[in-house]
């Protein structure tokens, strides 16, 4: 057991702290896409290696060798200081790693730099009305016509489609192949004729999601990642990236500390909320769970650094446990405030910018999105515990 990262990493941690102290005030509170403040902060972070750290310089990144401990220190220090750690989003967190792994030279050169700098915004075209948890049954089709794919169909849950410049999209190109082998991964411009976007208002009353319709959308043939029919593998290569990013225990810890501060300052019947033993016990329960997830993450990190160490199912459970934990934590922030906890939006009594309600609902969305909690439990039981799959239902009328 050795929890020390070593003196060179403590120097590195100090550098990050110094940076945050010196430049932290330039950071945007929330990342409004394409705002000047967001983009200049993003560029400053890349320049210093605090985001896009391992992306090669030729594609606009910082070009450092991958170093999990450095990445962790950066994540910790940004979370601790509650300073915006730069842009995330599906283009940066999902498409860029995919292109680095499976993209052509031309695709890397064209897309990575503007994406990580925040100039080029992406949306993801995966889910369809009839293909949610069973994503591989998607039916949006792409048929080759000369030098173009012609795309027809509908996507749903396309976050930021209304702001996106481009989309990475799963389409069925081999209708006669088994469902997992008939899919391809296309990239195309959202200004292409034939794309219609309808906002889908979610329970937070924000319109972050959309329904996106494609009618004879013509996509140049070379704008495919991987080979024809390999789209499922391409997509799965990055779903792992998404799941890792969903339950960051450093952010959860920062949120817990905000909750503790709130409980010390807010009062009920003249007493600080923290003096109520029932609220306090709920807080302590959550703190125990946060602690367990932080140590679980240490073990995941350690198993990545020490190849002889078996992480067991430590990594597989992070999405399920992390999102449920955040939802419970945010819910406690509401409960302790009673009616004040209902305040939403423009209201003089709103606390912490109304974030308790927003995050409570947002994390319910994350419990469902990116592989529902139920799908996670299938994965844990089948891959982690080696339990058998549910037998396939045989459709009436043969097949």
């Amino acid at each position: 057991m050795d929890l020390e990262f070593g003196p060179e990493y403590e120097d590195f941690r100090q550098e990050v702290k110094d940076f945050l102290r010196k430049h932290g005030e330039k950071s945007p509170g929330s990342a409004a896409l394409r705002s000047n403040k967001t983009i200049s902060w993003q560029k400053l972070l890349i320049e210093n290696g605090y985001t896009a750290r391992t992306i090669p310089q030729e594609y606009g990144g910082y070009g450092a060798q991958p170093d999990l401990i450095q990445s962790r220190i950066i994540a910790e220090e940004f979370a601790n200081s509650r300073i915006n750690p730069g842009l995330g989003g599906q283009g940066i967190s999902m498409l860029v790693p995919t292109l680095l792994e499976l993209g052509t030279q031309a695709q890397k050169a064209q897309f990575i730099r503007p994406t990580i700098e925040g100039e080029m915004v992406w949306c993801q075209g995966y889910s369809e009305p009839g293909a949610g948890s069973d994503l591989a049954s998607l039916t949006t089709s792409a048929v080759l016509d000369g030098d173009n794919w012609v795309v027809n169909g509908q996507k749903i849950w396309t976050s930021t489609a209304q702001l996106a410049d481009w989309i990475f999209c799963l389409v069925r190109t081999e209708p006669d192949a088994p469902k997992h082998r008939g899919i391809s991964f296309l990239l195309f411009d959202m200004k292409t004729p034939g794309i219609e976007i309808r906002p889908l208002v979610d329970m937070t009353l924000a319109a972050n999601f959309n329904e996106t319709f494609f009618t004879d959308v013509r996509v140049p043939k070379h704008q495919i990642v991987g080979q024809r029919g390999e789209g499922w593998q391409v997509a799965n290569a990055i779903l792992g990236h998404e799941r890792d990013s969903l339950g960051n225990p450093n952010i959860t810890l920062a949120r817990l500390n905000t909750l503790i501060d709130l409980m010390k300052t807010e009062t009920v019947n003249g007493e600080p909320l923290i003096d109520n033993p029932i609220y306090r016990d709920r807080l302590m329960k959550i703190q125990g769970r946060v602690m367990a997830m932080r140590f679980n993450e240490l073990r995941v990190l350690s198993s990545q650094l020490n190849k002889d160490q078996d992480p067991g199912i430590a990594r597989m459970i992070v999405k399920l446990q992390g999102t449920e934990l955040r939802h419970d934590l945010e819910g406690l922030g509401i409960d302790i405030m009673g009616e004040v906890g209902l305040c939403y939006g423009d209201n003089p009594h709103t606390r912490t910018g109304g974030s308790w309600q927003t995050q409570y609902m947002f994390f319910l969305g994350l419990i469902i999105g990116g592989g529902t909690s139920q799908i996670q439990k299938n994965i844990i039981s089948e891959r982690g515990l080696d339990m058998p799959r549910e037998p396939k239902v045989i459709k009436k009328g043969g097949q």
Partner: protein, 354 residues
Amino acid sequence: MKFGFSEEQVLLQDNVNRYLRDNVPLDRVRTFADGGTDTDIWQGLADMGIPALLIPEDQGGIGLDALDAAIVAESLGYHVTPTPFLGSTVMAPTALCLSGGDHSELLEALATGNKRVGIAFGEAIARRNSASVTVTNTTLTGTSLFAFDADADFYLVADPNKHLFLVDTNAKGLQRRHLTTVDKTRRTVELSYDAVAAQCISEDPSVFEATLDIGRVILAADTLGAAQNMLDQAVAYAKQREQFGRPIASFQAVKHMCAEMAASLEPCRSMVWYAAHALANLPQEARLTACHTKAHLAEVGKFVAKTSTEVHGGMGFTDLLGLHYWFKRCGSNRQWLGAPELVREEAAALQGLT
């Protein structure tokens, strides 16, 4: 950086597991539950040096730390092993070594497994009803409830001021009464003191606290092992039991119960490791982590105990299968050395939140 076991620790774990698997099957636990002794089990563990684990080398021990003890405790919990490990190997040596006094004779006897020291701490953690210990000079009067290890040669007794005393089981005025509890893998006693001469070990509350902390982490490790066994049994049973023409393990309702057990238990593993490591290496975090680990494992252990029993259906409810030994082990670990609500309140107090 490595958050995990050394080669020696993996070896320790393998050896203890192998010994317990071969020598302490459920039938052996049942003979203890029916009134038999644990002497041969303890002797076997003593042959492997287990009782000497935490005792410094210059006192005849091996000088390992809490993480090594947690590794052993997890295995003991996995096999619901009856042993005096928690008192004699973990808590008593910790208190004796921290006390500053010379206890080399007793430590050497503990290291070989020849003597056993039980623990009577309840009255310093949460006094129940009229039970309490009063000390005049070094003479004890009153009652300690639920002292563990019914066969101890000495008891380490804490009074409500967190002062520690050592009492010889044969001391004049000491009465020891068996208290039947639901957990038949351990035996607890009530100690009554009628002006019993005792040896003061420490009047420094931090000695009591450090002893309590390690006891709590070790109980949490025991729960980790017991709950892991219940999960393993549930998965194995579900794969073998068929209903509606297929293994019940293929029904999502059953799979999800198992996944929920696994998902809540897996982070507990890291939590026990960290808490044990912190006891010896991260003094500023040790107490808080020990409290949270005790309370969190109590909750997860309770959940796994219930859920695993349900996965077994009617068989889970029978004595024939014996799953209830694990269920009850998790249950008593939950109450011993501080029930979860009380321990969480301690956690809050440690952060200045009370």
